[in-house]
């Protein structure tokens, strides 16, 4: 078998949620530079407009959809907008997420539910909507952004860790269900990134977490994006149902 490394996303359509977040911005740039047509989503239209300006792609290669994943119709709305813009979806990157750190004894029902509403239900609805065109076209790649929190329990992260663990099981089930339709579903589980959720972790926990990273440093979004691009590309054609930890050895 010939092996031709091909990072190009030319003529491919990528939908990226959470596009204006720390990781989402780097992912958006990565897919843009790889040649993809982008449909970027986030809660805030102004932030999307700013990102679109920065990317400076021709109009036919970019569109934005402001949507809140806690809205039941958000998933359908995003996918419908993408299909209207580009007629197909080759890659769906589910990068939106939230957290509410607190010790379980003090974690409120509302905070627990809100984290699950975005990280599990929101992602699930988006995945469900995105699978439909992929099933019809018999191809597609979904990359879901999880977290090492799903693998390595952290004090104060019950809501977040449980939501990401649930999300990873959805990835694995969905991969099994859709493999026969030419669809691949994988995840990446970043550890602590310099500008990601780590920035919101209380100082003492961050120090402890840093000490536990064999590489002794936080990661960068630019160290996660290539893995997402790889999982979205035909180079990973035999990989589905996997979640790759990108964490400086944290979960080794």
């Amino acid at each position: 078998m010939n092996f031709n490394p091909d990072w190009s996303q030319k003529d491919r359509v990528a939908v990226i949620t959470g596009a204006t977040g720390y990781l989402g911005r780097v992912l958006s740039r990565g897919f843009a530079e790889a040649g993809a047509t982008l449909v970027l989503t986030s809660r805030r239209q102004e932030a999307l407009d700013q990102l679109a300006n920065e990317l400076a792609l021709p109009a036919e290669r970019i569109s934005t959809v402001a949507a809140d994943l806690t809205e039941i119709s958000a998933g359908e709305q995003i996918i419908a907008a993408a299909l209207k813009k580009a007629g197909r979806i080759d890659t769906l990157v589910i990068s939106a997420g939230t957290l509410a750190d607190a010790l379980i004894a003090g974690l409120t029902d509302e905070a627990f539910a809100r984290v699950h509403e975005v990280n599990v239900q929101g992602a699930f609805r988006l995945l469900r909507a995105g699978l439909r065109p992929m099933i019809l076209q018999r191809s597609g790649s979904v990359v879901v952004v999880s977290s090492t929190a799903a693998h390595r329990p952290n004090v104060g992260q019950a809501a977040y860790a449980a939501s990401k663990a649930a999300l990873e099981m959805i990835i694995r089930v969905a991969a099994r269900e859709t493999a026969g339709r030419g669809i691949r579903i994988n995840g990446v589980a970043p550890g602590l990134l310099t500008g990601g959720m780590a920035a919101r972790i209380i100082d003492e926990a961050a120090d402890r977490a840093l000490a536990a990273i064999p590489m002794g440093r936080l990661g960068e979004a630019g160290e996660v994006a290539p893995v997402v691009l790889f999982l979205a590309s035909p180079m990973s054609s035999y990989i589905t149902g996997q979640v790759w930890c990108i964490d400086g050895g944290l979960t080794a």
Binding site: R132, I135, L136, E177, T178, G180, R181
Partner: protein, 136 residues
């Protein structure tokens, strides 16, 4: 759309779903799961294709609702399994499915697996009629 036109379109979509050639004969009497080897994913795939082709919506549970009709939920199923009356209703709806296909206990979530191609054609025609009624 006439019954035969609907059938030809549905048969074409069944072929697409199963990646069959145009030469493969699809007949109204064929059972999707038992004769054509459908899986649950094939069923979902076919329904997606039907919804797209005919611009109709066939939400989850449509067959269940059609079989139940005006019957109270409690008289149609018990603990998720069709009652004798529920079974009668289902068999009346799926009248072209041979009786031995139906197991002793029919779970309410499994109804699509007893459909013939003809039953799907009738479902599509029913939905088309419903759509036309709403738009007129």
């Amino acid at each position: 759309m006439s019954i035969s036109t609907t059938f030809e379109s549905v048969a074409a979509l069944v072929r697409e779903t199963l990646a069959l050639t145009d030469n493969e004969v699809i007949s109204p009497q064929q059972l999707l799961f038992y004769d054509l080897g459908f899986t649950s994913m094939d069923m979902l795939d076919l329904l997606f294709r039907i919804e797209q082709k005919f611009s109709i919506a066939i939400p989850e549970g449509t067959l269940y609702q059609l079989a139940r009709g005006d019957l109270d939920e409690s008289r149609f199923t018990e603990d998720g399994v069709l009652t004798a009356l529920g079974r009668e209703r289902l068999m009346a709806l799926l009248y072209d499915t041979p009786a031995p296909i139906f197991p002793a206990r029919i779970h309410g979530a499994t109804l699509p697996r007893y459909c013939t191609v003809g039953a799907i054609v009738r479902l599509v025609d029913h939905k088309l009629l419903e759509r036309d009624r709403c738009s007129s």
